[in-house]
Symmetry: C2
Subunit: 385 residues, 2 copies
């Protein structure tokens, strides 16, 4: 049910010719209210695509009525012409919907540096078709339209005491913190103002999408948007809402990890015994970004020395000679020295668990990543062709 | 001529059975004086191998008479037993040479977490054979003995007004700043005390080895050592010595880059127009560590958007929308927008030049890296087997 699981939302996914395959490539999501509250988090990359520059302005007042999303071109580093394309997209949607362009967000994904007149014409055409095709059952089509190298559409839904949360996500490469080449739209019919939505969204992304680091490459186009229609008429319990939002984000993040470009292992790096949560995140991320470790996991090689070499580059508080490392339940390293023989570890399953005990405190964090494979290299060596 | 190009040095490279191929795997370099001055820089990884822990102590007084180096095992995270192996290696060499163990450095390279009794016995045996085989023509054998996945031995020599600098290096994977899985020994017969050697070595490695970042993975065992015998009797001009030392380090660094595991491109990332040298280094390194950019170069794809996405993650002072990017002489991006068509760029040559003009100042820096290839993944997915 995706973004139309919650009451008050309509969506569509249409084909506008941006994808050479003829698949759906433009999505429109509209909030029919009565509430039009919204919050969003954006890539922390200083190199921001035009849709990010636009959307950051548009959401400043906490009011969003519609989002137009396209695959098939990132519209990033396309100059003033590219910004005008985004602006015209919002104006086109606003005109057709009878709303203000300032209440329309735009998201784009695809090749950076691409966004010519043909691209613009197709996005505007797709926007028109999308608005014409809006329906309360359009959530799945919208989720399909934002896919790029994704092999499956990604959605998640949670329901609680009279209110619903539903979302869609796309992203397979350039997955890294803060965030990824990741577009996410989450909707709810709960009654929450923009300030509360913002607080819940930041709290949720911090422990979910921000801890998904597939390939260490931060995108120019990432955006996670949360829209509230208030159509359920129910003001949710704040803790229950945050918990459900974290669950939806976690489910979508796991689906992104599972579908990462070329990956043969979905690796969960659990760091425990850290002096602080920040330390745990830094340690986990250092392993997630270590190409030698990632290549070893691809080869089903439990090369724990590369884990220790990776974490030794961090500033986190711990003694490298007092660290334990387990892989898939087998402790191969105790206090910085060899423990069980590596032959006892079976790394052939796709799901891989690495447990790192820093023995420096009680804080923990989990980072999700993938292995470095031939297919990853292949997919990304010819992406623009 | 390697480490025996300078007068006052003897070396050997012998086979001790650490490499399953039967190739040479233990090297010994001895300084016959009259001067026994030395300086070294070590990996900045907090996870340091036993030979690093030993050598840092041994060189504290600036006096070194011999170095024993082995491939076939890193002796890292091998506990007290591993440290004793290093200690025994230094004592064995000292006993045979009639010197103090505290004046013997040890370097090891190979698999982390490996260093059992068989390893120890072979290293000690190799030390004995190496000392027995010392000769003033042994430099090439020593350079061969420290190779791991290297395909060629790496040496460099410079001669000036009566004094000589010569060096050997090994390293092909885990190449990153501060430093790499890189063992380097440089010798000179110039007359320089340990303090001067240290200043020159730090100045030289900062602009050479520290700017080689093949795969972003920092080693546990890196060590660059500079030994002075004083055998020429000549106190060199300090500027001339530093220049020659930088040349030797640059030549060895370029040879490491050229022989990096699985690489099909040697990429020179030249950053100009930076507000500071630190900014230029940070920007260059962000590109060198971006897997998407590295995979694109492997595919001969001039994907400049990935360059901008990478540098956008840095804290360096510049405007992402005012940056120029050229590849192999063709400017594809001007002021953050498309310039020449990507079809004009030929990325098929191994030597690849990326020029980034930040338009923010006058500082520059050059980072050397490699592409991300199928062969890199392959070599590193089964390294320990």
């Amino acid at each position: 049910m995706s973004v139309t699981a919650a009451k008050g939302f309509e969506a569509a996914g249409v084909a506008a010719g941006l994808k050479s395959t003829g698949a759906k490539d433009v999505a429109v999501v509209v909030n029919r209210g009565p509430l039009k509250a919204a919050a969003a988090v954006f890539t922390s990359n200083r190199a921001k695509a035009n849709p990010i520059l636009w959307s950051q302005q548009a959401i400043a007042d906490g009011v969003v009525e519609a989002i137009v999303l396209n695959s098939g071109g990132a519209n990033c580093f396309t100059g003033d012409f590219g910004f005008q394309t985004t602006h015209q997209t919002a104006e086109k949607a606003a005109e057709l919907l009878g709303i203000s362009a300032g209440d329309v967000l735009v998201c784009s994904t695809g090749l950076i540096g691409f966004g010519d007149e043909v691209f613009r014409a197709k996005v505007l055409d797709g926007t028109e078709k999308g608005v014409a095709g809006l329906s309360a059952e359009g959530g799945e089509d919208a989720a399909a339209a934002i896919m790029t190298t994704d092999t499956v559409a990604k959605t998640a839904v949670r329901q609680a005491d009279g209110w619903t949360l539903g979302g869609m996500a796309k992203g397979a490469g350039m997955l890294a913190p803060g965030l990824a080449t990741m577009l996410v739209v989450i909707t709810t019919d709960a009654v929450l103002d923009a300030g509360r939505l913002d607080a819940h969204l930041r709290a949720a992304t911090r422990v979910t999408f921000d801890r998904l680091d597939s390939d260490g490459c931060m995108s120019t186009n990432d955006q996670v948007t949360l829209l509230a229609s208030g159509a359920s008429g129910i003001e949710p319990d704040e803790d229950a809402f945050r918990t459900a939002l974290i669950e939806v984000c976690n489910e979508l993040a796991a689906k992104l990890q599972d579908d990462a470009e070329g990956a043969s292992h979905a690796i969960t790096i659990e760091v425990v015994g850290a002096a602080s949560e920040d330390d745990a995140v830094e340690v986990g991320r250092s392993v997630a970004r270590n190409n030698l470790f990632k290549a070893a996991i691809f080869g089903s090689d439990p090369n724990w020395g590369r884990v220790l070499a990776a974490i030794g580059t961090t500033e986190a508080e711990f003694d490298p000679y007092d660290v334990d490392v387990s892989m898939n339940g087998v402790r191969v390293c105790t206090k910085g020295g060899p423990d069980r023989p590596r032959e006892e570890i079976d790394l052939t399953p796709r799901a891989t668990h690495v447990l790192i005990d820093l023995r420096a405190g009680d804080a923990t964090a989990t980072i999700l990543t993938n292995d470095l494979t031939h297919d990853y290299v292949h997919e990304n060596s010819a992406y623009s062709s």
